[in-house]
């Protein structure tokens, strides 16, 4: 990390030091936004419901596309919020928010905050509850795990099945809880495909003798070097890709998982035994954020995420003047785009506050 990231007072307007912004959520978006706001001289209250900042980054192992360590990005976020202008409040939930003239009065579980000139909602996402896809037997069959649980296994340094052995064969199921009318999530969670490819490579690296299968509907390799990662998975790591949905998982007498999948490209059903089944669970708008949204009266879109004022040039603005969004509470995003989105939110807040709080024309 370059030394220059530390807080230089670059773009600060003198008026900013009189202004107070409340950022709800100290994950990737919240910390990035808070850091940029502090750099511009604002006072920031950063509210976080968990015991520490960093959000989901605290659970990840390596990040796509270059497989750098997640700790490096988490350290970047921690450096961002290391400023005397930012007051971090961990283990704190928002109880209610009321408007008073042009100011916002936020009551938290640890007391009232000073009046805020703007609210930035960076409450992030919840992962889909895999138990809802009953046919995969999550929570019933021992060796059906989620992609998050696999990340935790990577962090622990070993991948073992419930029987204590490394798996001979691993299956990764794409689109669990996403693009699925049956669970009410029509949307694509965007990042699960590249995560599956990354995790497939990580498994092969840790366990070279293990066979790895990805069961996909489409391969959504949307970002820079993602498609190249897919190619590397096939070329260098011999990961197998089977296009088709897994219909069910069950256990056979040897307590190995048996899965049935439609091999769409062969035009036939396929069945195989696996030792570990990883469900790539999708993103949903965080329940904690939705509660804040309900209290405030924020519009929620058909997909359950917050509705932004304009899909192209206003996706940090909400339906309420003075309330802004950053990050995955608006839609599924990867970390790079979350950081960009958070910085854009700061630009919107600047513009809003430095035009005397006048209503922004969409």
């Amino acid at each position: 990390m370059e030394a220059g990231w530390k807080h230089q007072k670059t773009l600060s307007m003198p008026e900013n030091k009189e202004r107070h912004i409340v950022v709800i959520g100290a994950g990737t978006a919240g910390c990035t936004a808070a850091g940029q706001l502090a750099r511009e001289g604002y006072r920031v209250s950063l509210i976080e419901k968990e015991g520490r900042p960093g959000g989901k980054l605290n659970s990840y192992y390596q990040l796509f596309p270059d497989r750098r360590k997640s700790e490096e990005v988490r350290d970047f976020l921690l450096a961002e919020i290391d400023s005397p202008l930012i007051i971090l409040k961990p283990d704190t939930d928002v109880e209610s928010i009321k408007k008073n003239d042009a100011k916002w009065l936020v009551t938290t579980t640890r007391g009232d905050l000073p009046p805020a000139d703007a609210i930035l909602l960076a409450s992030g996402f919840d992962l889909f509850n895999a138990e809802r896809k009953e046919e995969y037997g999550y929570g019933i069959y021992d060796d059906v795990i989620t992609s998050l649980e696999l990340e935790e296994k990577f962090r622990s340094g070993s991948i073992l099945t419930s029987k204590g052995f490394p798996p001979g064969r691993v299956g990764l199921v794409h689109c669990v809880g996403s693009r699925d009318e049956k669970v009410g999530n029509f949307h694509c969670s965007k990042v699960c495909c590249v995560t599956a490819v990354k995790q497939a490579i990580e498994i092969k690296e840790m366990l070279p003798g293990t066979e790895v299968f990805c069961f996909y509907m489409d391969m959504r390799m949307f970002g820079p070097y993602y498609e190249e990662l897919y190619r590397e998975a096939q070329e260098k790591w011999a990961v197998n890709f089977i296009r088709g949905k897994v219909s069910e998982a069950s256990e056979n007498i040897e307590e190995r998982l048996v899965i049935k999948v439609e091999d769409t490209l062969a035009g036939k059903p396929l069945k195989m035994q696996v030792d570990l089944l990883v469900l790539m669970i999708g993103m949903e708008n965080a329940q904690s954020g939705l509660r804040v949204g309900e209290d405030l009266g924020l519009d929620v879109g058909m997909n359950g995420f917050f509705k932004v004022r304009d899909n192209h040039y206003g996706n940090n603005r909400s339906n309420l003047t003075g309330v802004f969004y950053a990050g995955t509470c608006t839609s599924a995003m990867n970390i790079t785009d979350t950081i960009s989105h958070a910085r854009a939110a700061v630009v919107e807040i600047d513009t809003y506050l430095n035009t005397s709080g006048k209503e922004l024309k969409s």
């Binding site: 190619r231 197998n240 890709f241 049935k260 490209l265 062969a266 396929l270 069945k271």
Partner: protein, 114 residues
């Protein structure tokens, strides 16, 4: 054994654990670019033989990888080795060589002299 006017049907499920994939492994050793196929179908779309026969390299590659060799044997020899598939493959698979080696593999399995 009695007959009742009907018989049981063999399941058509691809039993991945029972299938034999040595032909696929043989090809992969000799033509590593075989691993890059994403079954996009560009090869089959341009194939001269596909217009009039069941030849589809897209399908053959999938069947080989699953170990469904009987289907491959049936259709393989329709290929005329024109090489158009290799010209269009977006992943750079040496498709013509894949076909050569597959034919070689089956010949070996059948014990014919090359």
């Amino acid at each position: 054994m009695k007959g009742f006017g009907f018989s049981s049907i063999k399941p058509r499920v691809i039993d991945y654990d029972r299938n034999n994939r040595t032909v696929s492994e043989y090809i992969l050793e000799r033509e590593p670019s075989f691993s890059l196929c994403i079954a996009c179908g560009a090869c089959a779309a341009t194939c001269s033989a596909a217009n009039f026969t069941e030849m589809s390299l897209r399908k053959l590659n999938i069947f080989l990888k699953r170990g469904e060799n009987d289907e491959v044997r049936r259709i393989m020899n329709r290929c005329m080795l024109c090489g158009k598939c290799t010209l269009v493959c977006p992943r750079g698979v040496n498709t013509r060589n894949v076909i050569f080696i597959t034919q070689q593999a089956f010949k070996k399995l059948d014990n014919y002299a090359v």
